[in-house]
């Protein structure tokens, strides 16, 4: 029904001297997962909070479902689900009651709500913990409860603000699987994180922001093309002299090489047999190694090239 679900134009949020968000413009399309990627403090949460009218922004316009978003836009809010970075549940209520309470803020019909609550519990796989209190749950289960509370009313648009922070790998996979299911069920998702693996796995499009500004946007593949390097070869090697490091830098197609005391990492800007050439180089120089592997550039490499710093700084 709606092509653009969210339209943000010229969004700026200033805190005295600091511009937390600086003239941000982007759209989120129906049934897509848009990843908002950036390091801590880059303005991701401020952007989400401004879109949700939790923050008064300095300038710009925000439309959701084709209508202006305001604090009292209750008809828009009815179709929105939000999963915040902080776990937002009542410690005094059980898992079931928490989900039922938050679902009840959107759905007044008891029978329909009961079904929705059960569906949410199933989606995040916490059926065995319905009568547990939040303090009895592990960090991962708590995050899953947090998600269930935000999506139980089956919203059309879901905001996920770093939902996997401090979560074990098993729970993270479970959460990511749940998010995919939500998209498959027709929801549009705006996903913020500073974990590049998550956006690579999950998002249809990615916006990279830093210091409140969009520095790149596109699909994962298109963004990776922004990187000057095409391949990275990593060698686990216990000892490497300066002489051999200099030799590695001069390998065919190599643009750079560095050794951190354990790993030799060589970047290439082209070439088809770089890994074979690397193994030949190691043999010829009688260098003993444990592992050799090749990688394509990651979003972190893109971010590093664009900003000169790591995503997780």
């Amino acid at each position: 029904m709606y092509d653009k679900v969210i339209e943000v134009k010229g969004l700026t949020k200033e805190y005295k001297e600091l511009k937390a968000v600086d003239d941000l413009s982007f759209d989120v399309y129906e049934k897509e997962i848009l990843g908002l990627l950036g390091p801590n403090g880059s303005g991701k949460s401020t952007t989400i909070n401004s879109i949700l009218s939790l923050l008064k922004y300095s300038s710009g316009t925000i439309n959701i479902f084709g209508k202006e978003m305001k604090p009292d836009a209750y008809d828009i809010k009815r179709d929105i689900g939000v999963i915040f970075q902080e776990v937002a549940v009542f410690q005094e209520l059980t898992v079931y009651d928490n989900i039922d309470y938050f679902c009840g803020l959107y759905i007044s019909d008891k029978n329909r709500r009961k079904q929705y609550v059960e569906d949410a519990i199933e989606l995040v796989s916490i059926g065995n913990y319905k009568k547990f209190y939040p303090k009895q749950l592990s960090g991962g289960l708590l995050r899953r409860l947090n998600i269930a509370c935000g999506i139980a009313h089956k919203p059309k648009l879901i905001f996920l603000d770093e939902p996997t922070v401090a979560v074990d790998p098993q729970s993270r996979n479970n959460i990511l699987e749940g998010i995919r299911k939500l998209r498959d069920n027709g929801a549009t998702i705006l996903y913020t994180t500073h974990y590049m693996e998550e956006v690579e796995q999950l998002c249809d499009r990615i916006i990279i922001i830093d210091k409140g500004k969009i520095i790149a946007s596109g699909t994962s593949d298109s963004l990776k093309k922004l990187a000057k390097i095409e391949e990275k070869i990593t060698v686990e090697i216990h000892r490497l002299s300066e002489e051999f490091l200099e030799k590695a830098k001069k390998l065919e197609h190599a643009t750079d090489a560095f050794y951190d005391g354990k790993m030799l990492i060589v970047s290439y800007n082209g070439g088809k047999n770089n890994i074979a050439n690397m193994i030949d180089f190691l043999r010829q120089n009688n260098l003993s190694y444990l592992k050799v592997y090749s990688e394509r550039p990651s979003l972190n490499d893109v971010f590093l090239e664009l900003t000169g710093k790591e995503l997780r700084d």
Partner: protein, 391 residues
């Protein structure tokens, strides 16, 4: 939406162990402890007359109201005071040597009390003198009224024996006449119980503040989640307040049941008025909790500290930690107790205990209702201004 919020607010409050302790259990524990601590005092010690001195000068001897009343209060088996009639120097010396609890000096027609400490006997001394003073002004008013009536009707020859009889009769019927303050009727333990009820009323602020914090996006993550929902803030707050009030009433009912059936406190005929005052006092406590939660721009702990600080300061100025403080504030900074809800509650209880009339009691009840309305209006204004939650 109201019922949904009310139901879950109730669950949240009743599952919060700290809240249940401070608002439901703590007043009951205090009541039981008071009973254990004070029952022996009331039962065994009967009543020891309070040793005081009176500065026996011209002003005192001319003030028949004080001289005669104190004389009657220091006679017989049930006497309230053991009085030493001495000069001012001697009275000071006796007080310094702790031979007496305090002394009274009449200056013109005004009583001046001097005490060294703030104990129970000093409290009784101050109260009785206050009552005599109160009676004295009633007699003066009635006497003046009697004389004016006679003059207006052209009767310039007055029979003063008849005048005193008429004034005494009118005092008996008067709405503001004081109760019998004989030792049997003076119970400082009752004052402690009333103070306890007042404290329990004000602790209702903890209930409303806890729930309000869950409704504000700039205070809690749950508040943020509620703020992005289509549920209107007003409906959620009303549900929360109704749940807080119900829990508070449950707490008060439990407290009264324990006090009446276990501690055996005799509230006499005042029970309906005490319940009314407790309800209105609880409303004041709830509204104070809402105001602290909405108006103080700080974290949850800072708000809790602020609320407890305000309640404790209110208790202190209202005389819960020593009745003399209330007298000092009433005399030197009356405005403090006019805006102090704790003072309004305790004053209402003291009024029920010491006076037959209900005028002053109703003024306290109305004052508490006005206080509650002001707090709620200020909070609503604060909430309306927070169109954006500014998290």
């Amino acid at each position: 939406m109201f019922i949904h919020n009310f139901k879950y607010s109730l669950k949240v409050l009743l599952k919060n162990k700290q809240l249940v302790f401070w608002t439901l259990a703590f007043p009951i524990i205090m009541a039981v402890l008071f009973n254990m601590a004070f029952s022996d005092i009331e039962n065994n010690e009967k009543f020891d007359a309070v040793h005081i001195a009176v500065v026996d000068d011209e002003d005192f001897r001319n003030n028949k109201m004080f001289s005669e009343t104190l004389k009657s209060l220091s006679d017989g088996e049930d006497k309230v005071f053991e009085i030493n009639y001495v000069d001012e120097e001697k009275a000071k010396k006796m007080l310094e040597d702790s031979e007496i609890k305090g002394y009274l000096k009449i200056v013109g027609s005004e009583p001046e009390i001097t005490i060294n400490s703030n104990g129970v006997e000093e409290t009784i001394f101050c109260h009785v003198i206050d009552e005599i003073k109160s009676d004295s002004s009633i007699v003066q008013d009635l006497g003046m009224k009697y004389v004016m009536q006679k003059i207006r009707s052209g009767e310039y020859q007055m029979d003063f024996n008849q005048a005193f009889t008429e004034i005494a009769d009118e005092m008996m019927d008067s709405d503001v006449s004081v109760k019998d303050n004989s030792p049997d009727n003076i119970s400082f333990v009752m004052i402690e119980y009333y103070s306890l009820i007042a404290m329990a009323c004000m602790y209702s602020g903890l209930l409303s503040m806890t729930l309000m914090n869950y409704r504000l996006a700039n205070i809690s993550a749950v508040g943020k989640r509620s703020a992005v929902s289509p549920a209107k803030k007003g409906g959620m707050i009303m549900g929360s307040l109704a749940a807080s009030f119900l829990v508070q009433i449950i707490g008060l009912v439990m407290l009264y049941l324990i006090m009446i059936f276990y501690v055996k406190v005799d509230f006499g005929n005042n029970m309906p008025m005490i319940i009314l005052l407790s309800f209105v006092g609880s409303l004041a406590g709830l509204s104070l909790g809402v105001a602290v939660s909405v108006l103080i721009k700080a974290g949850e702990n800072a708000k809790l500290t602020a609320l407890i600080g305000v309640v404790m300061a209110g208790c202190f100025f209202a005389g819960m930690m020593g009745i003399m403080m209330k007298n000092i504030i009433d005399k030197n900074a009356p405005i403090v107790n006019y805006i102090n809800p704790v003072a309004m509650i305790t004053d209402g209880f003291y009024t029920l205990y010491y006076y037959n009339g209900l005028d002053r009691f109703y003024i306290d009840v109305i004052s508490l209702l006005i206080f509650s309305a002001v707090m709620i209006l200020i909070s609503l204004r604060g909430l309306r201004r927070q169109r954006y939650d500014s998290i």
